[in-house]
């Protein structure tokens, strides 16, 4: 659909597997369920109603959608240097690079570190305090719900900025719906206070050690976490000049 990338960002085209390759890889390791591939969705057919009534979109077509997988070195640009320094700091003073960082993804010219939840605060401290890293500004937390990524359904994504070095990177932690506990980063980045409350409110991720983890957008007695994929949009039909438009979540969709 889109023409080849023309910008020479740090990421090289060869490093980012195309969907076809990733699916082939996923199929090759079928049965042993590769833990690092984030399965976004399993689609049946191309459009039409869900469940029965396969009117035209041939429900036999099954597509597994996965996120771009781990990148391999060299990551390009300043990414290698930052990851090297982080590895050094974590090995010396922290839990160790291998234990803390699950894998590294470079996509769209952005560096994304997947962090083991239990070591998140140590990684944040290292990123903030080391003079060669100095990610002093956090731009907040956002959650993503991947119901098909079994055992790692809930993701919290942290966006960090180094004003000193002019860098931006992303941390991502994944926890299961059954045990949605992530340590709070408010001790390192006080700004994440409200952002973690919002992520808790919308996704139900529990940030352990947060000074006051209360709902922030929804009323205190609200049941459920609205941004989860299994939470309905609850739209209402709209009537206009006698015709009725169904709510957005009940319309014919393209998968």
């Amino acid at each position: 659909m889109s023409p080849e990338k023309k910008n020479d960002e740090p990421q090289t085209a060869a490093l980012r597997p195309t969907t076809g390759q990733v699916i082939a890889k996923a199929a090759a390791s079928a049965g042993e369920a590769h833990p690092l591939l984030e399965v976004v969705a399993v689609r049946h057919g191309m459009f039409g109603p869900a469940g029965s009534g396969d009117t035209s979109g041939y429900g036999g077509l099954v597509t597994t959608v996965v996120m771009p997988g781990p990148s391999e070195r060299p990551y390009g640009g300043w990414f290698d240097e930052v990851v090297d320094v982080l590895a050094e700091v974590l090995d010396e003073e922290g839990p160790g690079y291998a234990a803390a960082i699950e894998y590294v993804v470079v996509e769209n010219g952005e560096l994304n570190l997947h962090v083991a939840p239990e070591h998140l605060v140590a990684v944040c401290s290292a990123l903030r305090d080391d003079p060669d890293l100095r990610f002093e500004l956090s731009l907040g937390v956002s959650g993503v719900h991947y119901p098909h990524d079994q055992g790692r359904e809930l993701h919290a994504v942290y966006h960090l900025v180094s004003i000193t070095h002019g860098h931006q990177l992303r941390l991502e932690v994944a926890v299961s719906e059954a045990d949605p506990h992530v340590p709070s980063t408010t001790s390192v980045y006080p700004t994440n206070d409200w952002h973690e409350r919002e992520t808790y409110d919308f996704f139900g991720i529990v940030f352990d050690g947060h000074p006051g983890l209360a709902r922030i957008m929804m009323p205190d007695d609200w049941v459920g976490h609205p941004q989860r994929k299994d939470y309905p949009l609850a739209g209402i039909p709209v009537e206009f000049k006698g015709a009725t438009v169904p709510p957005a979540d009940e319309r014919r969709t393209y998968r």
Binding site: M1, S2, P3, E4, K5, K6, N7, T19, V40, A41, V65, V66, M67, P68, E107, N108, G109, E110, N112, E136, L137, S138, L139, G140, S142, G143, V144, H145, V157, H159, V161, I163, G166, Q168, R170, Y189, P190, T191, N192, D193, W194, H195, E198, R215, I216, M217, M218, P219, D220, P226, Q227, L233, G235, A248, D249, T253, Y254, R255
Partner: protein
Amino acid sequence: MSTQTPHATGALRDDDLDGVPTFHPVGGDWSDVAAEAARLGEERIVVNMGPQHPSTHGVLRLLLEIDGETVTEARAGIGYLHTGIEKNMEYRTWTQGVTFCTRMDYVAPLFQEVAYCLAVEKLLGVTADVPERASQIRVLMMELQRISSHMVFLGTGGNEMGATTVMMMCFQAREDILEIFELVTGLRMNHAYVRPGGVAQDLPENTTAFVRKKMDSVRKYLRQAEDLVMENPIVHLRMKETGYLSTAACMALGVTGPLLRATGLPYDVRKTEPYCGYETYDFDIPTATEGDNYARMVVRLEEVYQSLRIIEQVLDRLDASRGTPVMVADKKIAWPAQLAIAGDGMGTSPEHVKEIMGTSMEALIHHFKLVTEGFRVPEGQVWQTIEHAKGTMGVHLVSDGGTKPYRAHFRDPSFNNLQATSMICEGGQVADVVVSVASIDPVLGGVDR
């Protein structure tokens, strides 16, 4: 028993209150707050300011604990304007998403549109293909929007200090800018004008001349407002040395934008992570060092002059780039019709309608599919920052390769900056709360989304 009405000209005695209707607020957590205060038996007063208070810029609720005239604790309660925009965007096509995100910060809608579209373009991998003229139009619109947003800050801020005249001047300047928006996008706000891949339409004829004329008028009102407030002794008394926030506090609280620059750190995403070609424009980042309410106002006014500088440059470029495309060439992304205003005032596109209805069945199918189904965006996630009038705005998008966003998250600068309410209000006077909150310049539509 006295039946006279209590009034403010004398000391109120207990028997004055006999027979006077009183109202005890209950509900929500308020009963708990009141019960807690009664249990502790302290001589403290907890004031519930908002959510329907004219000085809170919408539906912001402030819980103030006061000791005499001093605020000992201040907490902000938000969520009263939560409309689930992010959730709704997951059920609409990538193009329709613009219509939703523009409604977040309704005082500066074009920033959300540009940030969202830049993020979608990054995911599509078409960032380099967006035509030069589209970026120029985006820069023009964003800088106009920055001025109008700062005008609302100065106008409402002045109004809250009792100076209605300032508001009249600033809103007249804003009105000039909204007329430009109406000319270009058809709407004064909630434009949905910026689209993934470019902008919805090219500028109408003579827009640059119209903008130049309007900028003269904006300058006039700006100068008037500036003359009125900058050396005004009341403004100095109210704003200087109130609401102080240091650079370190800004870093810890993630506070960006004019609040951060008023502490002396010239951090501006337009310079550090340029987008839309900002690196090619000549402008400065104004800063101040005091970090108080007055410094924030000065920084914002200086920014307006820098925006005017950028607008002058971009208008010349727009004159030079007339007739070039404003949308990516990829027909799988760009909508086919270029609308024009018909006799009835509605948008229509006679030539395109003639083609799809009369000559090309394939063009009709393509048009229908592109508008109803939308285009697909490769799977992955992306983070895009821009310099919003109120600070750093971030957009986090996740795509599952489908025709709709899998997740859209907006890091609204007002949402984050409001966290500083406690720090800038506590220890100050009750009257300073209004000025300090105004200096954050929050828009609750963006805060609550």
